[in-house]
């Protein structure tokens, strides 16, 4: 049977190339994602290894709050450095402080993009050479409150030279420092694209953190003292609220933190790789079905000659696995290129990913090969089984077998599959399944498979419906196209199903995005009474200095300027995002739907709770709640306010008195502004902008601009998703081209006849093209139907998360449909050309 498989592969090699292409593309994407992920992972691993290379121990607070963006750890008193230095075996120790510091270019533009790209760090210049990953290339170390050292990349981007005055955005008002040194990170100009501002320790404490406080103490051991030994000695003398980790442990911890943070990204990329392979599996299935059908006579003959069913199944599966293996190997090789391309796509979408050289792990080869071959063989399983059930007499008979029983079974399987998929989807979205991502993915795949199984029942009426105007319009070519699409509804629909997946996902995500935009607009309209929003672009790390809101409130044109801060705390034992608002101004600008209490009187120990959260906990106004902060530990709060509208306020918020008392680093991520009734809109804006100009990262927007920015952000993400889904659609097009090419081979006789009796080459090409368009339209229509359903379900499921509106982007869908027709035309280019080139005599005399 090996011999047969190889000779089949060889004789059908050109036909199989296009099938392999779908596997190649799918595997290339998978391998590319894996390579990119490994590369990013190793880049960060290297970063932390470099930073901590000589570090023997790290002393830090035990107070930790888990937050969305990584752990928030409390600070320690700087006196601990003296305690550490007194321990036997300690060669040197130094306090560490790190915080938000964004450099401003000569032209007044903020450098870096802390919201999406690499962070904009400020920290203290290390005075112990062994523990300092930075190397001075120009100037000297900073000393005193007015001096700064920056990384070489930033000095180029600024551009800044020694002696220049550099503006830095900080918690306090923007400040100027004199550039006294330029440093590299090891030998690199910057650490993975982050900007770095370095001060002496007292200055760093002052502008980045709190005077007298440290984030950690780095410790260097004496020669001959092991890391663990040192850590043990330190632990024994340090207070209970301080812990010691070894340098190796810290590195490991930081590496796994990054790995965890990248986990989402990891899932994101692999989801698209699997979508691509899922689409590819339809094409493999279809190709093998057609090839097996074309080989019915051969199979029959082999059966007549005594080949056993198992041998026939085996021959097809060997063929599939060889094809899968070859395609996977090509795909893996192409994966390196894809990794580079993916990186470009991601950074074009605003996600700047640091990645040095390519990190190609053996595991990439194993996974990709296993998945590539696995998908191919699985997809060929059903066709191969069908091949083996060929009756020996099929060699002689030319009529096709009765498919009625087959179709009844298909109907049943399709209905069960689709129903199970919908059920799982609803459970995944509305219930609480064990693994939501896997559950939703599985459900989506099941729905697609179910609909694909059912699609032949739709294919015939659909082809007739769409084909009729085409037949009227397109003359004989149009008529032939319609009849050919109708000829084998199963083939037409399986081909279309591959396209359906991509279009369905595009449709669902388009609907989700459109609904999200409409919902955001509605939120702003409903709960926002202000005139302007000042945004920093940062979220979670850094932001606008509270000084901005303070200065704005002094303007006569401004009735109220209210900053909103983001903090994290453990409330009732659960880590929560906690908003901090200005009690004096918040009520004037944002309507949170107060049910009980008063925003204006929120004091140091007052907590505002959303009504649903309060109901869940059985809380009432006046109840006490324990709130634990990283810096101040557990504090007793009292519920002072219950509100109904969580769109802007989230689950909890506190007033600024409480926020400042417990969170040391205070930034406003947005400032809302209400103008004084006496001021004109333009006058107020001019005055606000004049103040905001002093804060380089502050962007002043009116409500329409703000809505637009929100919608642009959604679009940015949407475009990224579309670019990745484009791959699935390209694979589907390969599938259409493939089916058409295979069909052309099958129809050699009649194509020859048509040419003989006077069909011109352009007419023949047109017939293939119209057929392709019918298939593409079928796929698009099915995709829209599924997309509409998915979109609706997703929007319903997210109703609690603020997606209150349901919108279908009609214009966008029309564009997609139009593109599908174009894609159909594109897919038909090669098959139609081949059909037209056919030698008439060979075609009509071929047996």
């Amino acid at each position: 049977m090996w011999e047969l498989s190889i000779s089949n592969l060889w004789t059908k090699k050109f036909r199989l190339i296009s099938t392999s292409l779908s596997v190649v593309v799918g595997v290339a994407f998978l391998a590319g994602s894996l390579v990119l992920l490994d590369t990013i992972g190793r880049t960060f691993d290297d970063l932390f290894s470099t930073i901590n290379e000589e570090l023997d121990a790290n002393v830090r607070s035990t107070d930790v709050i888990e937050a969305q963006f990584g752990d928030i750890r409390g600070r320690i008193d700087e006196d601990i450095v003296d305690t550490v230095l007194s321990v036997d075996g300690v060669a040197a120790a130094q306090g560490e402080v790190q915080g938000f510091a964004q450099l401003v270019t000569h032209d007044g533009e903020p450098m870096g993009n802390p919201g999406q790209g690499a962070p904009t760090f400020g920290f203290n210049w290390g005075t112990i050479d062994e523990l300092n990953p930075m190397r001075l290339v120009e100037g000297r170390a900073p000393s005193g409150p007015a001096e700064i050292v920056i990384d070489r990349q930033s000095s180029r981007d600024g551009p800044f030279a020694l002696g220049d005055s550099v503006t830095v955005l900080l918690q306090g008002p923007p400040s100027q420092f004199t550039l006294v040194g330029i440093a590299t990170f090891g030998t690199a100009d910057s650490a993975l694209g982050s900007t770095m501002a370095m001060f002496d320790l007292p200055t760093a404490q002052e502008v980045l953190a709190e005077p007298g406080q440290l984030d950690a103490v780095s410790v260097l051991a004496d020669e001959g003292v092991g890391q663990q030994e040192l850590a043990d000695r330190l632990s024994s003398v340090l207070p209970a609220d301080v812990e010691v980790v070894t340098g190796a442990e810290l590195t490991e911890e930081q590496q796994s933190d990054v790995a965890e943070a990248l986990g989402f990204f990891n899932t994101f990329m692999l989801v698209f790789a699997f979508i691509a392979l899922f689409v590819a599996s339809f094409i493999i299935y279809n190709t093998f079905s057609i090839l097996v059908a074309q080989r019915t006579r051969e199979m029959g003959l082999l059966r007549a000659l005594g080949a056993r069913r198992r041998q026939l199944v085996g021959s097809v599966l060997i063929e599939a696995s060889m094809m899968g293996a070859i395609a996977s190997i090509i795909g893996i090789a192409a994966g390196v290129g894809v990794a580079t391309l993916l990186k470009a796509v991601l950074s074009a979408a605003g996600f700047d990913i640091p990645a040095g050289g390519v990190n190609f792990q053996p595991s990439t080869i194993y996974y990709s090969l296993a998945v590539g071959v696995g998908v191919t063989v699985l997809s060929a399983l059903v066709p191969s089984w069908r091949a083996s059930s060929t009756a020996p007499m099929a060699a002689i008979r030319t009529t096709t077998t009765d498919e009625t029983a087959d179709m009844a079974r298909r109907l049943l399987i399709g209905l069960i599959g689709a129903a199970a998929g919908v059920g799982l989807l609803l459970w995944g979205l509305f219930g609480s399944p064990p693994n939501r991502t896997v559950m939703i993915g599985l459900a989506t795949a099941l729905v697609f498979l179910g609909v694909a199984a059912l699609s032949p029942f739709v294919a015939a009426p659909f082809s007739r419906l769409v084909g009729s105007p085409i037949a009227k319009l397109g003359g004989v070519p149009g008529e032939l196209a319609r009849e050919n699409a109708l000829r084998n509804p199963r083939r037409t629909s399986t081909t279309a199903a591959a396209l359906m997946i991509g279009v369905g996902l595009v449709g669902a995500i388009g609907i989700f995005a459109e609904s999200a935009k409409a919902s955001v607009d509605k939120i702003i309209d409903d709960s926002f009474v202000g005139d302007m929003v000042i945004d920093s672009g940062a979220f979670g790390f850094g932001g606008l200095s509270p000084e901005l809101a303070r200065q704005l409130n002094e303007l006569p044109e401004v009735a109220a300027a209210s900053g909103v801060r983001l903090g994290f705390a453990e409330i009732d034992g659960q880590s929560e995002t906690l908003l901090g608002v200005d009690p004096a101004t918040m009520g004037d600008i944002v309507d949170v739907g107060v049910l009980e209490g008063d925003v204006a009187t929120l004091d140091e120990n007052d907590l505002a709770v959303h009504e649903e959260v309060a109901a869940d906990h059985g809380w009432r106004v006046g109840d006490g709640v324990a709130v634990r902060f990283a810096d101040t530990g557990t504090q007793q709060f009292e519920i002072a306010l219950v509100y109904a509208n969580d769109d802007l306020a989230g689950r909890f918020f506190v007033g600024n008195p409480a926020f400042t008392a417990n969170v040391p680093d205070v930034f406003d991520f947005q400032v809302y502004v209400l103008r004084d009734p006496a001021a004109t809109a333009l006058g107020a804006r001019t005055a606000v902008e004049a103040v905001a100009d002093g804060f380089a990262n502050a962007t002043v927007q009116d409500l329409d601009e703000f809505k637009q920015t929100q919608s642009d952000q959604i679009d940015q993400l949407l475009n990224l998703v579309y670019a990745l889904l484009g791959l699935a659609i390209i694979i589907a097009l390969i599938g259409i081209a493939n089916t058409l090419a295979l069909s052309t081979v099958e129809r050699t006789h009649e194509l020859g006849l048509l040419r003989a009796v006077g069909m011109t080459r352009p007419q023949l090409r047109r017939a293939v093209r119209w057929e392709s368009i019918i298939i593409a339209l079928l796929g698009t229509t099915l995709g829209f139907a599924i997309g509409l359903f998915f979109g609706w379900v997703i929007v319903r499921a997210l109703a609690d998360d603020g997606i209150s509106e349901f919108r279908v982007p009609i214009g966008q869908l029309v564009v997609v449909a139009f593109l599908a027709v174009l894609a159909g035309v594109a897919a038909a280019v090669r098959p139609s050309r081949r059909a037209a080139k056919l030698n008439i005599l060979e075609a009509i005399s071929a047996q």
């Binding site: 003359g475 004989v476 008529e479 050919n484 009649e750 006849l753 009796v757 011109t760």
Partner: protein, 251 residues
């Protein structure tokens, strides 16, 4: 479109070949399928080309029908020199001026008998002459089968539909390549009878290739080919005379 009425009645041949040479392959594998063939087929007659296997009879038919190009010499259909036509013009000539009946695969399987019959006309976006259509369909007795697809027709019915298709555009000449090769003798004779009536009653011109003497006997004239050359001719053939002539090839 050419029709019976606007075609000048002349003694001109419907089609003729002059010094036609067709070479397949090259070098040691070179085969001269046609070796300086000069022959003409008159209008309004039923002619047959016969000869042993490999004599070049099918090649001659294909070249005269514009399905294959000559290596040298020329073929004229009416006054049109096929050498002067590009692929599209040649296709249009086949569509508008020639009728075809092949041994098998005469019909497009996805189209009904009616759509197959009118295929050539519709390919050229010509109107179907309903009277002529009715006459052809009734003459061939396929009216009851018009709505059926080829798979639902018997072999004889399929060939009758093919003949109807060949007639519907009132071609200058109908080329039939072994039209009865796949039929039993009863069905075959029926089809040949129709071709004969097409010539006698409808004034058509038919050129047929066959190896079957009883089929050839339906025609008015036989051209014999051997090794790519015209070696003999016969008028008013009978089965016996044809068999006698064919015996000479075996010697």
């Amino acid at each position: 479109m050419s029709t019976m009425t606007d075609r000048p009645v002349t003694t001109l041949a419907a089609a003729r070949a002059e010094d036609a040479v067709k070479i397949f392959g090259a070098g040691s594998t070179e085969v001269r399928a046609l070796d300086n063939v000069t022959v003409e087929f008159e209008r309004g007659r039923f002619s047959t080309i016969m000869g042993p296997s490999g004599s070049g009879k099918s090649t001659l038919l294909h070249c005269m029908a514009g399905l294959e190009r000559l290596s040298s010499g020329r073929v004229l259909v009416g006054e049109t020199d096929l050498n002067t036509l590009n692929d599209t013009d040649l296709t249009v000539l086949r569509r508008d001026r020639i009728g075809f009946v092949f041994q098998t695969f005469n019909l497009v399987p996805t189209l009904t008998a009616e759509r197959n019959i009118t295929l050539q006309l519709r390919l050229g976006r010509h109107k179907v002459d309903q009277d002529w259509f009715d006459e052809v369909v009734d003459t061939l007795g396929v009216r009851a089968r018009l709505a059926h697809r080829p798979a639902e027709l018997s072999g004889g019915e399929r060939q009758r539909v093919a003949v109807a298709r060949a007639l519907i555009n009132r071609p200058e000449i109908i080329f039939a390549d072994e039209p009865t090769g796949n039929l039993d003798s009863a069905a075959g004779h029926e089809v040949l009878g129709f071709l004969q009536r097409a010539v006698d009653d409808l004034g058509q011109t038919v050129v047929m290739v066959t190896h079957d003497p009883s089929a050839a006997a339906f025609s008015q004239r036989i051209v014999f080919l051997e090794d790519g050359r015209v070696v003999d001719e016969m008028s008013e053939p009978t089965v016996v005379r044809i068999l006698d002539r064919l015996k000479e090839f075996d010697d």
